[in-house]
């Protein structure tokens, strides 16, 4: 599974992207975020306030309870400010 990070989420985690293999019980994006937070302070710092984070699965906006599967690209980022 490919994880990608943008803006201050990227800066706080310290990575642009990474490949991870979460355990089978991690079935949603919410569970994935919990699993990441357990891996280190940088993830906790970045993902602590979930109301401030938006998520996308395979380049489409989704909710935190979206189911994920192997081979997905999951993105974490702040609310967009383009235009």
């Amino acid at each position: 599974m490919k994880l990608v990070y943008f803006a201050w989420v990227r800066e706080r985690i310290g990575l642009d992207f990474e490949a991870v293999t979460p355990p089978q019980e991690v079935k949603t994006i919410s569970a994935l975020a919990d699993w990441l937070c357990a891996r280190g302070d940088n993830y906790r710092y970045a993902l602590a306030d979930r109301s401030a984070i938006r998520v996308a699965r395979n380049q489409t906006f989704v909710g935190w309870d979206e189911a994920i599967s192997e081979g997905d690209e999951v993105a974490f980022f702040p609310p967009v400010t383009g235009g």
């Binding site: 803006a7 380049q59 702040p78 967009v80 400010t81 383009g82 235009g83």
Partner: protein
Amino acid sequence: MTVKIQKEDFDAPLEVGAMYDNCANPGAVVTFTGLVRSRDNDKELIALELEHYPGMGEKQLEKIVAEARKRWDLQDCLVIHRFGRLKPKEQIVLVACISAHRGDAFAAASFLVDWLKTKAPFWKKEIYADGSTWVQERREDIERAG
């Protein structure tokens, strides 16, 4: 219908001029150009850094354009969004809509710009002499885009 995400600057008249050939009976052309403002508060901005999500950016812009075509009678429309480091007065975004009548062109252009602000995966960082800050979403933008 064209969507571009690019680092380079764009030539708005050239881009809009190229659209005319696609239009059977154009009557109204509405364009929106977004520029980097030099200041929103008392501090002078040095630059804006625009980060984007390659791949998803194009997808979202195409979705937005398809939605606009469904809602209004458009003969052609165009969205160009830049990324990278931009200085004050530089162009960030161009939206252009061509239709037979002004109502469709104005409504579609305004809708596209509102949606860009809330649905396109771009993030702005303001660079000042004494530091930088990520721009926060504006509640007004979210309400406007509905």
